[in-house]
Symmetry: C3
Subunit: 275 residues, 3 copies
């Protein structure tokens, strides 16, 4: 059974996702289609990279991941298929895949060239599903494209270390369903530069001096009742091993989450000073 996942900015109301699923089932009879997300903000490649990057790893090796974000074919937005970590990814070379390829070296990258046969206003359906079908039948990437060396890497999206190596300046890359604020500062980067020192993490005028390992670590269950810390702000290494700013048991629809309560939004700077 071929596992095909979908990560798009198509939303969930329109016919786009349904049409793609129908075409997948027509091309790949035993396809097991899994939705990762269709609610990526339109054309937001950082968000798309965060979502697919944190979702794909739990899937069995050999899974095929279609990414339908900013995927119209243009002279500056080529279509690629990439093998990384035993998984296959199909999408546009717009930066999303270079985030994934940054962590793990791709085994192979090809620029898809089956377009001569297919003129399309809807390439995720007409091109990406065709490529997925080819891969699912055991076909090699070389048949559907020519090997290339590198993916496009957008600038300005990684944290910066100062020369004294006592400061990391990162930024907000994602706000999740609970209003939690995810930064691009990884646990690994943080620990590489911490070197046993204390630290202050600043987000606007909010200071954090601890990074917890789970949300409820903020509560001392020996002496405190469970609701004592509801609404308290905390920093945590989240399940993606990135530093995340959260409000304990928050709810965006009622009391608000870290994003609204701390006044933080996508791309805001986050600074860590080691002291």
């Amino acid at each position: 059974m071929a596992i095909i996942t979908l990560t798009t900015d198509f939303g969930e109301r329109d016919h786009f996702v349904g049409a793609i699923k129908g075409f997948i089932l027509s091309e790949i009879e035993d396809a097991n289609i899994v939705d990762i997300s269709h609610l990526v903000s339109p054309f937001n490649i950082v968000e798309a990279a965060y979502i697919i990057g944190n979702a794909y790893k739990t899937f069995p090796k050999g899974s095929i991941h279609i990414i339908g974000v900013d995927s119209e074919l243009t002279p500056v937005n080529k279509h690629v298929a990439v093998a990384i970590d035993g998984h296959f990814f199909i999408g546009a070379d717009n930066g999303i895949l270079s985030f994934l390829a940054n962590e793990v070296n791709p085994e192979k990258i090809v620029e898809i060239n089956i377009h001569d046969r297919i003129k399309s206003v809807f390439p995720v359906l007409d091109v990406f599903v065709k490529v997925a079908g080819h891969i699912s039948r055991g076909g090699t990437l070389e048949v559907i494209g020519k090997a290339i060396k590198k993916l496009k890497m957008p600038k300005g999206l990684s944290p910066i270390i100062n020369n004294e190596e006592n400061q990391i300046t990162g930024s907000v890359i994602y706000i999740d369903n609970y209003g939690n604020v995810v930064t691009n500062i990884s646990k690994r980067l943080f620990e590489t530069y911490k070197r046993g020192r204390g630290f202050e993490l600043w987000a606007r005028n909010h200071k954090f001096t601890n990074v917890y390992h789970k949300y409820s670590d903020v509560v001392n269950f020996d002496t405190e009742s469970v609701n004592k810390k509801d609404g308290e702000k905390l920093a945590i290494f989240n399940s993606a091993s990135l530093i995340e700013l959260a409000i304990y048991r928050s709810n965006l629809d009622t009391v608000g989450g870290a994003s609204t309560l701390l006044g933080l939004k996508y791309r805001d700077p986050i600074t860590i000073n080691f002291i």
Copy 2:
């Protein structure tokens, strides 16, 4: 494996969709259930018809499509099962299916009459899934209903051609996830009446004199940078072969889309003058 698709206005939060899926799996062991959309605006038959009409064609022949929009059984809202184009549709005879039957002649229409055995506040589950089970086991439509000749056709939803045949007056039938404004004027109708003439398409006080074949056709990549035309308005034949008004690389949540920027909404008139 029986493919059963679902198009409803049930939303995605409540238990309705889950309950239906459970019942499908109880009735049809090897069912492959595919969500088309559960975000149809409540009771909006035009929207439902646009979504299912554009999604079903990519599915394999023999697929069974359940439509749960405005489906309570009343003396004026009968339940029907329809075979069109090798596909099966189950829903209420409220106009949704007559849009589909308008394009391709139905092979068979039956008015479902298994209700004597089933009294239901939730007919999509109790009636439509039973019918889907029957069809998936190879049963004929005659067993679950009596053949009828015609589906109900709502009035006033098709574009109008004036007597001089130099003007088409259509309307907005759908606003998609990007804020793109979809009209009911098809490429075929447009080209039938264009006959080599120039034209002006008017939507409120906005004029369009070109209809592109893909979004990025608005950019001249030889002389222009890729972001040059971000936010520019354009008309396009969309993937459903209907004229659509769009904003290049729009985002409803930030800069806005065609619907908000051009001030267009569901049912607004669209006029094309051939000159």
Copy 3:
């Protein structure tokens, strides 16, 4: 084929649900994963109980239902696996499952104790999926936990009968996709105490003296046109056999639904006086 359902407050945009599905497919090769809902309001156990309680019954016996709401393991929030009515439920002992166990006696309850091997910031993935895999392979609950007698039951969520037995005081437990207002007063409770008497149901200053069996019962099709009663308020026994207050053919986005038009919200009191 093992049926695994998911009911969570994770939302549909983030990577959480995708990551869980990937891990399920890695652990249970022939898993048939069904989404019940991912739009439970964060940490809202009443809503979660209403949704899963009304969805699970249509699934085949032996289905495994994972509940990812308020599931971080703490000293006061244990993880449990429960067999009820031939179904398996995996979640935190936070009250959700005690609602289900209230209707049908659980066949078995165990407190999950595989945590020594698993430290997790994301227990739905790391713990609940492991337990689901164990159950899907025919494993017994005793292997993954120790039997306990009772689930935690939150207080104050059941309707109250006065001493004279002429009044039921319930409350609003759910607002659905159409704005319909669902109460915690069941048809059974209502009929047990009605005993042939008349009644007045009060919701704020709105009075209802009838409870219908389907929405369109409010229309007399012999003498009234179908749209005559659009926008009329009514009470109905809904598909969950609970009393629900509705607006006939309502639409939250346009005319509004019962919740907005009657000014009712989650937890508001509902009173029935028998006279």
